[in-house]
C-alpha cells in the first residue's frame, strides 16, 4: 500500500516540476526564472564556492574558542526547549494530520491502515524539510563549516521537531480521551517548566556570586555570566536531550559529527517509534482540518488573505450608506468594512492610547530636549514605513477585488468611478494613521528647542497635506500593475511558486519603484523651485508650507489623472484572461 502512496507523492512532485518547466516557454516566467536564479545565486549559492562578501572560501572546519561550542550548543538547546514547550502548551485541538480534500476523499475510505497514513504524512513532510534544509544550509554555510554537516544537522533538528510535534499532538489527544483537559495539561506542563527554571535559578543563587548591574557592562560579560549559568549547573543536564539534537549541526569536523550523529539519530528513531505506535484516532479531526484548509485556500485564491487566516466576524459599517448618491461611495463604504476586519475601531483606540502614552512619557522626560528629538525621529521613521509598507499591507482595492472583476463589470458605473471607489479606503486608512502620528509629532514640537518649534510645525503641516496624496499615488501604482499584468501580481496566497515567481516579484518591485520615482519627479522639481528662493527670503519654516502645497497640487493632478487611467485600464481589463499565469 505504501508503494501507492509513494507513487502519489512521486508523481505529484514530478508533475509539478514538469508544469513549472513547461511554463518557462512563456516569456514572463522565463524572465522571472532568470532574474530569480540570479537573485538566489547572488545571495546564497555563490557562497558555496566563494567566501562571504567576496572574501576567501569559508573554512570547512570550524574552530570555536574554548567553551563557546558548549555555550552555542546550550543556547541552541534552549531554543529547542522553548519550541517544544510551546508545542505542549499552546495547541488545544485534537490531533489532526493535514491532508488535502482530495487525499481525504481517496485515502480515508480506502483500505489503508492508520499507520500507513502516518507514514505518508511523514514522507510528505520530508519533502518540505528537504527544501528548508537546502535554504538553511545555504544561509548558515555563509559563515563557514562543512556543507554536509550543516545539511545533515539541520535535517536532524527539523525532522526530530516534526516528529515531536506529531507525537505531542497524539499525546494531547490521548490525554483528552482520558479526561485530562487542556487546562490541566497546560498547568502540568507549565508547572514542570517552572520547576526546571526555578531549579536552575536556585542553584545559580546559591553557588554563583550575586549578579548586579555593574557585572554586566557589555555583551561579552553578559555572555560570560550566561555561560556560567548554563554550563556549570543543572541546566547542563536538564537540556541534555535537546543538546543531543543540536550537537551534530555544531560539530566542527567530520569526526565530531559522527560522534554526535549516532545519539541524535537514536533520539530521532525513538520519536519515530513514539509516533508510529501511538494509537490515536486522527481521522475525524483531519477531515475537519482538511475542510478548513480548503476554505482557507479558496479564500486565499480569491485574494482574501485575512479570510485565509481565520474566521471573520461581521463588522459594522463606518458610516450609514443611503440608497442614492454618488455610486462610487458604495465601493469606499464596502472596502472600509473590509479594512475593519484588519483594523477594527478597538485596534485604532489601542494604537491611539499607546501612542499618546508613549508621547507623554517622552514629553515628561524632555527637560534636555533629547527625548523629544528621539520621539520625533521615531515618528518620522514610522511615517516612512507607513508610506512604503502601508500600500503593500492594505490591499482592500483592486488587488483584493480582482477575482470579482466580472461582478464589478456588471455595475452601471464608469471605470474611473470604480477605480476611485476601490482606492479610497486604503488611502483614507493610511492617511488617518499618518495624521495621528503627525498630531503626536506636532504636540511634541513644543518640547523641542524654541528655535525648532516653527520648523517642526511647518514640517508637520506640510506632511499632513502631502502624505494623503503620496499614499494615493503609491496605491495607484500596484493597482495599475495588477490590472496591466494580472499574472505578475499575486492576488492570493496559493499562486504559483518557485524561483521564477520570486524573479517576477523582484521585477515588479523594481518597476513600481521606477514608476514612483517618475511620478514624484515633477512634484520634487516644483517643491525645490519654490522652497529654495523662499528659504532665502523667509527662512525654512515659512518656506516649507507653500512649497508643500505646490508639490501637493502637482501630485493631486497626477493622482486625478491616475484614477482616470486606472478606470480606463479596468474598462479594458479582460476577465477571461484574469487568471492566465
Amino acid at each position: 500500500m505504501i508503494s501507492a502512496l509513494f507513487y502519489l507523492q512521486y508523481h505529484t512532485v514530478r508533475n509539478r516540476l514538469v508544469s513549472r518547466f513547461k511554463r518557462l516557454k512563456q516569456p514572463k516566467y522565463l524572465i522571472g526564472a532568470i532574474v530569480g536564479g540570479l537573485y538566489f545565486y547572488w545571495y546564497f549559492f555563490r557562497y558555496l564556492f566563494r567566501g562571504y562578501a567576496g572574501g576567501p572560501q569559508p573554512p570547512a572546519n570550524l574552530t570555536w574558542p574554548p567553551g563557546h561550542l558548549l555555550l552555542f550548543e546550550l543556547l541552541g538547546a534552549l531554543v529547542l526547549f522553548v519550541i517544544v514547550l510551546m508545542a505542549w502548551l499552546v495547541p488545544h485541538e485534537r490531533a489532526a494530520l493535514t491532508f488535502s480534500e482530495a487525499e481525504v476523499a481517496f485515502l480515508f475510505p480506502a483500505p489503508v491502515t492508520r499507520r500507513t497514513l502516518i507514514h505518508f504524512k511523514l514522507l510528505r513532510s520530508q519533502l518540505r524539510i528537504f527544501f528548508s534544509v537546502l535554504l538553511l544550509t545555504l544561509f548558515s554555510r555563509r559563515f563557514g563549516g562543512n556543507a554536509w554537516i550543516h545539511a545533515l544537522g539541520w535535517w536532524l533538528i527539523l525532522s526530530t521537531l516534526n516528529l515531536h510535534f506529531l507525537g505531542s499532538s497524539f499525546a494531547r489527544t490521548m490525554m483528552l480521551d482520558r479526561g485530562i483537559s487542556n487546562r490541566l495539561r497546560r498547568l502540568l506542563v507549565l508547572g514542570l517548566a517552572v520547576a526546571m527554571v526555578a531549579g536552575v535559578w536556585v542553584w545559580a543563587k546559591r553557588t554563583m556570586p550575586r549578579l548586579n548591574s555593574a557585572d554586566i557592562t557589555d555583551l561579552g560579560s553578559a555572555m560570560d555570566y550566561l555561560q556560567r549559568v548554563l554550563t556549570t549547573g543543572p541546566a547542563l543536564y536538564l537540556l541534555y536531550p535537546f543538546r543531543l539534537v543540536v550537537r551534530p549541526f555544531l560539530a566542527p569536523d567530520a569526526t565530531a559529527f559522527l560522534g554526535a550523529f549516532a545519539p541524535a539519530l537514536l533520539l530521532f528513531l525513538l520519536h519515530y517509534l513514539w509516533v508510529i505506535y501511538s494509537d490515536v484516532a486522527f481521522e475525524e479531526a483531519s477531515v475537519e482540518a482538511s475542510q478548513k484548509l480548503a476554505t482557507r485556500l479558496a479564500a486565499a485564491r480569491a485574494g482574501n488573505w485575512q479570510g485565509a487566516k481565520k474566521n471573520q466576524k461581521a463588522k459594522r459599517p463606518w458610516f450609514a450608506l443611503s440608497g442614492t448618491g454618488f455610486s462610487a461611495t458604495a465601493l469606499f463604504w464596502k472596502n472600509l468594512i473590509g479594512i475593519g476586519q484588519v483594523f477594527s475601531i478597538r485596534l485604532w483606540i489601542t494604537i491611539i492610547v499607546i501612542v499618546v502614552i508613549f508621547g507623554f512619557a517622552f514629553a515628561g522626560k524632555a527637560q534636555s530636549h533629547g527625548s523629544s528629538i528621539v520621539a520625533e525621529f521615531l515618528i518620522a521613521i514610522a511615517l516612512g514605513y507607513s508610506l512604503f509598507l502601508g500600500p503593500q499591507l492594505l490591499r482592500l482595492d483592486f488587488r483584493r477585488d480582482l477575482p470579482l472583476a466580472d461582478i464589478l463589470k456588471t455595475f452601471p458605473l464608469r471605470g474611473w468611478q470604480i477605480a476611485l471607489g476601490e482606492i479610497l479606503a486604503p488611502v483614507a486608512a493610511l492617511a488617518a494613521f499618518q495624521w495621528l502620528l503627525l498630531l503626536i509629532g506636532a504636540g511634541l514640537v513644543f518640547y523641542l528647542p524654541a528655535k525648532l518649534e516653527g520648523l517642526g510645525l511647518a514640517i508637520a503641516l506640510g506632511a499632513a497635506v502631502l502624505l494623503p496624496v503620496l499614499d494615493w499615488l503609491l496605491l495607484l501604482i500596484p493597482n495599475a500593475a495588477v490590472l496591466l499584468f494580472p499574472a505578475w501580481i499575486q492576488t492570493g496566497k496559493d499562486g504559483p511558486r518557485g524561483i521564477e515567481v520570486t524573479g517576477q516579484r523582484l521585477i515588479m518591485a523594481l518597476a513600481q519603484l521606477l514608476a514612483l520615482l517618475l511620478a514624484l519627479a515633477p512634484a520634487a522639481v516644483v517643491f525645490t523651485v519654490i522652497f529654495l528662493p523662499l528659504n532665502i527670503v523667509v527662512g525654512p519654516g515659512a518656506a516649507l508650507l507653500p512649497a508643500s502645497l505646490a508639490a501637493t497640487a502637482v501630485l493631486a493632478v497626477e493622482a486625478g489623472l491616475g484614477v482616470l487611467l486606472l478606470g480606463k485600464l479596468f474598462e479594458r481589463f479582460d476577465v477571461t484572461e484574469e487568471h492566465t499565469r
Partner: protein, 258 residues
C-alpha cells in the same frame, strides 16, 4: 428588449462565439443550451457587458452594451453559476451596497421583502462564510433583483438549491417574466428549460444551430409529430450528423474558459 446582432467573440485565433444573432421581447424566457464548450457563458458575459464582443452589437433596452454601457447595465442583472459575494459584507450590507450602486432609494423595504421571499431573512447579519451554498445563491439573487431589472441572465440558476428552492426559483423566474422581464437561462438541465422557457437557442462550437419557440424547435427536429422529447431534440440538434451543427473547433488556450 435584447437585440443581438452578429455577436462574435475571438480569443486570439480561437472563435468562441460566431455571428450570433437573436432578439428577445419583454416577458420571454429564452433557454440557452448547448454542449460543454459551446460558448454559452461567453455569450452571457458579452450580453452582460463583462467582456467586450470582438464584433457585432448587443443592445439592452435600446442601449448599446459597449457605447452606452451605464444605461444598458442599469436594466440588467446577471446571475453566475457560482454566487460571487464579498466575504466581509453581511447579507444586509450586500443589499445596502448594491442599492447604492443601482440607486435604489427604498431598498430597505424591497430588500426586506426579497429576503423574506427567498427565506433568508433570519440570516440578515450573517457573513457569506456562514451561509450554505444554496443560501449564498439566494443572496446573490436578492442582490440582483433589488433594482427590479428588466433583463435577467441566469447561468445554471438551480445549482446548489434544494427541491423547495428549485420550485421557488422556477416560480420566481416565471413571475418576473409575467411582470415583463426578458430572461435568458443558460442551463444543462433540459427539463428546467422545457418547463419554464418559451424559446430555445441551441449553440454548438460557438455557432447558433437553431433559435425559436419550443414548438418550432420540436417541429424541426422531430421526424414525426411528438416523437421526441427535449433531450432527444438536443442530441439530434448537436450531433455531428446534423448538417446544421458546426464542426468542432480546436481546444481553447489555457485560462480562457467558455
Amino acid at each position: 428588449m435584447v437585440q443581438v446582432e452578429s455577436l462574435t467573440k475571438l480569443y486570439g485565433e480561437f472563435t468562441a462565439v460566431s455571428e450570433l444573432t437573436f432578439s428577445l421581447q419583454p416577458g420571454e424566457v429564452l433557454g440557452l443550451v448547448g454542449p460543454n464548450g459551446a460558448g454559452k457563458t461567453t455569450t452571457l458575459r458579452c450580453l452582460a457587458g463583462i467582456i467586450p464582443p470582438t464584433r457585432g452589437t448587443v443592445r439592452v433596452g435600446g442601449h448599446d452594451i459597449v457605447r452606452d454601457a451605464i444605461d444598458a447595465k442599469k436594466q440588467l442583472a446577471f446571475f453566475t453559476d457560482e454566487p460571487r459575494l464579498f466575504d466581509y459584507l453581511t447579507v444586509w450590507q450586500h443589499l445596502n451596497f448594491i442599492a447604492r450602486i443601482y440607486q435604489v432609494a427604498d431598498y430597505e423595504r424591497t430588500g426586506a421583502a426579497l429576503l423574506e421571499e427567498l427565506e433568508i431573512a433570519n440570516k440578515r447579519d450573517a457573513l457569506p462564510g456562514e451561509l450554505s451554498r444554496g443560501m449564498k445563491q439566494k443572496l446573490a439573487i436578492a442582490c440582483g433583483l433589488l433594482h427590479s431589472p428588466r433583463v435577467i441572465y441566469f447561468d445554471e440558476p438551480l445549482t446548489g438549491l434544494d427541491p423547495l428552492g428549485i420550485r421557488r426559483m422556477k416560480d420566481s423566474i416565471l413571475k418576473r417574466a409575467r411582470n415583463g422581464a426578458a430572461i435568458i437561462i443558460s442551463s444543462h438541465l433540459l427539463h428546467l428549460v422545457g418547463e419554464i422557457c418559451s424559446r430555445l437557442l441551441i449553440l454548438k462550437n460557438g455557432q447558433k444551430i437553431i433559435d425559436g419557440t419550443l414548438e418550432e424547435v420540436t417541429r424541426k427536429f422531430s421526424e414525426q409529430p411528438g416523437d421526441a422529447n427535449l433531450e432527444e431534440i438536443f442530441f439530434r440538434a448537436t450531433s455531428e450528423t446534423n448538417p446544421a451543427a458546426p464542426a468542432a473547433a480546436p481546444p481553447l488556450p489555457p485560462g480562457n474558459e467558455r
